[in-house]
Symmetry: C2
Subunit: 224 residues, 2 copies
């Protein structure tokens, strides 16, 4: 899509904005990541982009759009730029089952893992952390059950629904530390699914870029 | 929409499924709520509908669709049944700004308030509860700032974005108890916005129905 102007992805070293970077990679949309530290997200320059002080935010000069919330950004990018429907669907029920699994990512897989991180590092609280760890095993169980008899969450192909889980799943050992489950042993369908996604060039590119962003800011927890 | 077959809303006394009931009321779509208790959501009959064990789930016989996750259900209902675009938009940027605020509800307003409830009642943890209380004041501040110079979140009319906040906001005093903020004093734009929504007949109907469901199950915390 070389006729497009470059989209700015206001990003952060945490997993969430990299879901968006992955979509741009998959769809070959020109973009540039501007990576903010956590304190920078609470400064006036960033709050002018999103008063909620959270990344990702995108600025798309092609449509003059400033948009926050990863779930809304994904909807926008997929609607506008997946013109060949390579990672989306036009049929019922696939179209909405994809949204169901996208929502399970944004409301459950992501936040529960962020909870594990938060109660370990931001406001240490061992009981709250243990509760999130337990809840995250349940998240993996839900995914493992869903993937029992299929390779992909929806419609027999790798879609945005699957891809939205990668950037968080790649951080599982780093975030959960000693409490990280043995995914290959306990949730083998999830493990095989993740490995299938790692075979995709855009996935590897995104994980590498995320590593580089962390190492530039001297933040531990690369994906390799 | 009398030619439609009745949609089943698999529901729960908590605030989340009532967002969906409100859309059906607003759009005059025939539906019936089947209200499950929390323990029932973890039983095989319900897990067969949603292996994640959470309400809402809808079954729409008009399209043969079984769908979970409130955000995905809202997208589906609005796409299929808001044919006159009475509470949605077809223009950019309104279409995606609506999704942005819908996502802020599903990923932030709802879960933070559920966090306050959880750490008070399910796994009592005063520090974790206090953190969620503080975070919820920030949620109200974000909304109050956004509503500083307008009546509605997006596009100058009451849309699904605004309406998605009602069922949780109505439970604020019940959930937060002594920590509930004085919304009229501290977040006056939010208070005025909520009162504007209370003037709508579908909003009052939904809150009444939610009260009745709670009282049938002997659960405290009605909206009146």
């Amino acid at each position: 899509m070389s006729s497009l102007q470059t989209i700015t992805l206001h990003s952060h070293p945490g997993p969430n904005p990299w879901k968006i970077a992955l979509l741009f990679e998959e769809l070959n949309v020109p973009y540039v990541s501007k990576v903010y530290t956590t304190p920078e997200l609470k400064q006036p320059a960033f709050l002018a982009l999103n008063r909620n002080g959270m990344a990702p935010v995108i600025e798309d000069p092609n449509k003059g759009l400033l948009l926050a919330e990863s779930g809304a950004i994904m909807d926008y990018i997929l609607d506008q730029y997946d013109t060949e429907k390579s990672i989306t669907f036009t049929t019922l029920p696939e179209q909405y089952l994809m949204k169901q699994w996208l929502q399970f990512q944004t409301t459950t897989q992501g936040p529960v893992l962020q909870g594990v991180f938060h109660w370990a590092n931001v406001e240490p609280n061992p009981e709250a952390r243990a509760s999130c760890v337990k809840n995250f095993r349940r998240v993996l169980q839900v995914l493992n059950g869903e993937l029992a008899d299929k390779d992909w969450l929806v419609g027999g192909k790798c879609s945005a629904a699957d891809l939205s889980y990668v950037s968080f799943h790649a951080k599982l050992d780093f975030i959960m530390k000693e409490a990280a489950p043995d995914v290959a042993k306990d949730f083998p369908n999830v493990d095989a699914w993740f490995r299938r996604m790692l075979e995709r060039e855009p996935v590897r590119k995104m994980l590498n870029d995320s590593d580089e962003a962390r190492s530039k800011l001297n933040i531990p927890g690369g994906n390799k």
